[in-house]
């Protein structure tokens, strides 16, 4: 037991997954295996993108790393500690806005501090600082419904940063934004990532987004999700997304994904036929 628990890898790694899998509704008739056999090491300060067809378990893996759900196979560690519950060190940012609509922007950003019982002055100071970093200090006293979609996601990033996380988990955070806003948000995220020093695990199904952001792209197979390949990208930043190198990468990733999407489609059709 103890020999199995002891991490046989560097305890400095931001995230370590060993044989991780998840079966939803395990033990019931609706049980289905979303994810299986994931081995992954993420270095501190690394930017990793999860790429895969929808339904392949990318969000599920993020939930497991966040500690919001328990893995049904394997184990996860973060900086040497076994992941068995959520921690402020691993902040999660969702696709749709998850700001509390009844709180102002600064109250949203300092929500985590209020949980710990921090004073109002302290909360306001921290919120102001975090909002400064996302360029929204002026919107402190606004309410979420007064902001645009892009601004709301920046507030969500500020809220995560206010907790000084070591790992930022982002589940298709820009998927609901228009193309121009998304490009700006990617630049913004790279800035934030650089000066926070946190590792980022970023889920997307956009190949362009993966090429623009990642140090490494983890490509998933369709259900049950496994790691198909890991594609390192060593283009220097800021990246020229129209370069020959970027184009080659896009082609390679497209090829890798196409097989999986085809397989996912065939599977869905087979399911529809039996139903």
């Amino acid at each position: 037991m103890s020999s199995e628990d002891a991490p046989h890898f560097s305890s400095k790694d931001a995230v370590v997954c060993r044989g991780v899998g998840k079966t939803w509704a395990a033990g019931t008739r609706r049980a289905h295996n979303a994810l299986t056999g994931i081995d992954l090491d993420v270095a501190p300060g690394e930017f990793v993108v999860f790429l895969g067809p929808s339904g392949c378990g990318k969000s599920t893996l993020l939930y497991l790393i966040a500690g919001l759900e328990d893995a049904t196979e394997g184990k996860l560690w973060s900086f040497g500690d076994l992941v068995d519950m959520p921690s402020p060190e691993r902040s999660l940012i969702f696709q749709e806005t998850s700001l509390f609509p009844w709180l102002t922007v600064w109250e949203n950003v300092s929500f985590g501090l209020s949980i710990r019982g921090a004073s109002k002055e302290e909360r306001r100071t921290v919120a102001a600082e975090a909002l400064q970093r996302v360029g929204l200090k002026a919107a402190m006293d606004k309410r979420p419904d007064e902001l645009s979609g892009g601004m709301r996601q920046r507030v969500a990033v500020a809220r995560a940063l206010a907790m000084r996380p070591k790992v930022l988990l982002m589940d298709e955070p820009f998927a609901a934004l228009d193309v121009q806003t998304r490009a700006r948000m990617q630049d913004f995220l790279l800035d934030v990532w650089r000066d926070s020093g946190a590792s980022v695990l970023f889920v997307t199904h956009h190949i362009d987004e993966a090429v623009a952001l990642a140090d490494r792209v983890v490509v998933f197979t369709s259900r049950p999700g496994r790691i198909k390949t890991i594609v390192p990208i060593d283009m220097p930043r800021p990246r020229n997304l129209f370069s020959r190198e970027a184009e080659d990468l896009r082609i390679r990733l497209t090829d890798l994904l196409r097989d999986e999407v085809d397989r996912a489609f065939a599977e869905q059709e087979a399911l529809a036929a039996t139903a």
């Binding site: 959520p86 902040s91 998850s98 509390f100 009844w102 929500f111 419904d145």
Partner: protein, 311 residues
Amino acid sequence: MAVVTRDSDSSGTAGGASRPPAASRLLASMAGLDWLARIWWTCLSISLFAGLWELCWAMGWADEKLLPPPHIFLDNIGEQGRYFNTATRWQVGQSMAEGPSAFESVLITGAATTARVFVGLIIASVLAIGVGVLIRYYRFFDRLVLPTITLLSPVSPIAWLPVAIFLFGIGNAPAIFMVVVALFFHMVLATINQIDTVNTNLINVARTMGASKAQIYTRVIVPAILPGMLQVLRMNLFGAWMVVLVAESTGVGYGMGQVIMLARNTFNPSLVFFTIAVIGVLGFTFDWLLRLAQRRILYWLPDTVERLRVL
């Protein structure tokens, strides 16, 4: 006032997108005077109804002894109002002429009934939200209590009337009890339903920030279900008004229900319709106040009516 600006904003954009036809331009220009327009439509709606009734009377289709039209039952307010003075009428040695004036009597009676509805609503909401939250918070409480609540919720409040009288006799208590019973079970089930539909992302955000279960309930779930609960409260408001009349008619010192019973026993259709009119106005006002409160408290909610209006 936030309400008015929001309304005028959205009608402004709806009309301003392209060149609007004359009719909608007129409507848009009226949006600034939104509350005035609303009063105007309310008056028009009521006048239309009263007018049809008057027409029936004028044509001789409606017997004024059985279905007296508004101008008759509203005509002798002084006369009708006197019947509302049920409290003093029952006191020994007091004649009908003594005690508060007719107008005061109507006010006192109306206020008494309104107060019962109000107190009943408050008690029912606090209890129901409390029990609903406890049911979701503690598994064992859920298993222990929910079956009984589900079992009792389809029972008509009328069936509780004898219980109200056995338990509380005569007075305010049975009427309030009836209101509470009529609302409580539905509101518990509504609370549970609201809790189950809270956006899981909000809960997960709180969890990653280290919130305890109690904090998740107080800081996330309760504020998140509040809008839905106020909606539920508004929908149950009229139910409360109906039930309170039944309770009052069976033996509370005074109240609108009592006046209706009096009108029935003395065969006084004019008084019936007058009382109905008073109840209507009271219920309408109550609903309006609740709607106002809803907009004030739940400032973050969008206005759905506006979205439908552009269709």
